[in-house]
Symmetry: C2
Amino acid sequence: MNDFVYENPTKILFGRGVIDQLGGELKRLGVRKVLLVYGGGSIKANGVYDSVIAQLSACGVAVVEHGGVRGNPVLSHVQEGIAKVRAEQIDLICGVGGGSVVDESKAIALGAASDIDVWEFFAKRETPQQALPVMAVLTLPATGSEMNGIAVVTNEETDEKNAIVCPALLNPKVSFMDPETTFSLSLQQTSFACTDILSHLMEGYLTTPAERLLVQDPVIEGVARSVMDSMAVIMKNPSDYDARAAFMWSATLGWSGICQAGIPAWGMPCHALEMPLSAVCDIAHGAGLSIIIPAWMRVAGARHEHRILQFGRRILGLDNPSSVDAVADVLTAYYRSIGSPVSCAEAGIDPDLDRLTNLAFDSFKQRGMHDYTKELITDIYKQSI
Amino acid sequence: MNDFVYENPTKILFGRGVIDQLGGELKRLGVRKVLLVYGGGSIKANGVYDSVIAQLSACGVAVVEHGGVRGNPVLSHVQEGIAKVRAEQIDLICGVGGGSVVDESKAIALGAASDIDVWEFFAKRETPQQALPVMAVLTLPATGSEMNGIAVVTNEETDEKNAIVCPALLNPKVSFMDPETTFSLSLQQTSFACTDILSHLMEGYLTTPAERLLVQDPVIEGVARSVMDSMAVIMKNPSDYDARAAFMWSATLGWSGICQAGIPAWGMPCHALEMPLSAVCDIAHGAGLSIIIPAWMRVAGARHEHRILQFGRRILGLDNPSSVDAVADVLTAYYRSIGSPVSCAEAGIDPDLDRLTNLAFDSFKQRGMHDYTKELITDIYKQSI
């Protein structure tokens, strides 16, 4: 077990109708004016926007709106949000939507609390010291952003898609999670979410050099099983409350740090490879992951054979997988079965592999993963075509 | 899935030598004087006391000592601690030891921050509103007190052993967990700890009426497997770092609320039955649990047959247990194998069953578990003799 720090102060309110507690929580924190961050308007279709506005209105909290967050949130839109916060003297950023919305809310909270240009933090040239408080009303479970201090933003001028990790500082103060608000998600959205959640569990599990993780192995296997089991129920009945609830809470647990704390020497090669893909081609992160992960496994998996075979046995339920490729085959079939693409062609994209390789190479360098050469990276992308 | 609130703001510093960060954390919180709470002196034998004192001295924090916490912390000693805090203008309570020490630290923090007699909170006649900050240096993992808002204290005048649950308010601000400080624990202490940790996982798992818990079942099974696997390694080599570390972190996870969040309609009958036993006979809580749980299963388990059989299959690893008694048999054998007593006789105690029954009956009433009649309670205690 590696040494670790675990700090996760987010308060979670989980269940039917929890948005009705938004006003009370804002009052408790003495908030007078919020920036309401949201995406393309699905929250207006499913009633969540109205519930939130009713709460803000009832408790006398003023609102400045900041809609139009993209699936992969972009820096220019973050900068617009920061400008609004400064102009309007906002106390708190309230993100209503999925991980992208929550991530953008955190980026705005970070940028607005400092004179330093916010991208400097994402480029790791500056260290965050303060941020405005954030709350999240989650309607698309996937990224775990509702209970961690992580945010991912794309700089569309350079196609860099960078993550920042600041536990406690960037954790939402309160997150509201009502599984019923996820009933209206399409199966495709849920499928991409499923791929994303599983990827969070897989990166550490697959890449640690440890022979056996006494606590993290069975916990990760448990959360992964919950994701796959609840996904199977949702595919039959998208309005099954217990399955939607389990899926939602598993997504939170999966990337809250609880599952990863103490795992020795793990990396995130699949995220390093996927983030250029979704930044350049603007596909869903989950779709990018189901394209990249099997390709990564086939090309770079030999060095993690022991862990990949264990993954095949304990998470995919294989009797005795003979090779990394055999596990990749079954994983590919699983992604297909839930409707997530397993090649660039299936996703309808034809990316410039040199461009992806250069971006990923920089990302690996930034992560200190120097064994990923440009040749290896290109080979993985070629496998993903 | 039931609605739930999850809030767990404790910062965990985990790993070798983390006590060296105590001074820095105290400074960060602006602490000038602490009450140092500890037990019978084992921390003086294993060097932890010296490390803590060195930290306090190096950062110029004054110390008032409060040693002598008992295995089942008692109200009179809590009251002595509260008097010291008031007389000495203490800023923070620092518990160094196991769950009893951390629980007493919380009780002192609660009592010292209010004019109300602290037992009023434990008797549920008053609701806590404030508490002094607490830190924990954990040397005996078992109760999870280092990352939850729970404290248990015995009123030795009435033999009432009551728990109080105040997430956030009573959570330690920071907990320091160095697995090497647990190397010197005896196998018996570790065995009682194992029983306690498993019991936290079992109460919800066994007593919920839910047919299937999509997320909590596999997560609880995972943590339980970690506890049992690491216990097996520790029994062979008490200084195996990874096993001690996994055992320690599993104990924390097991009663942090993460495993229980959302479980429908569960109760804690085994704790309601055990707490009178350890209060009256002053045995270790873990020893009491290994006596009570199989007895409870045999006498009251029929109503939870589906869950107990699942426990037998998925946690005890039985192929296809035929009955609740069959599971109880294997559980009894497991407790014996790790050296925890499975009857009052084995523990060398001969309690007054009427006294126990009356105390437990009151406890069940307080918990709203009205199906536990005096007859049923007595039958379970008789089974445990």
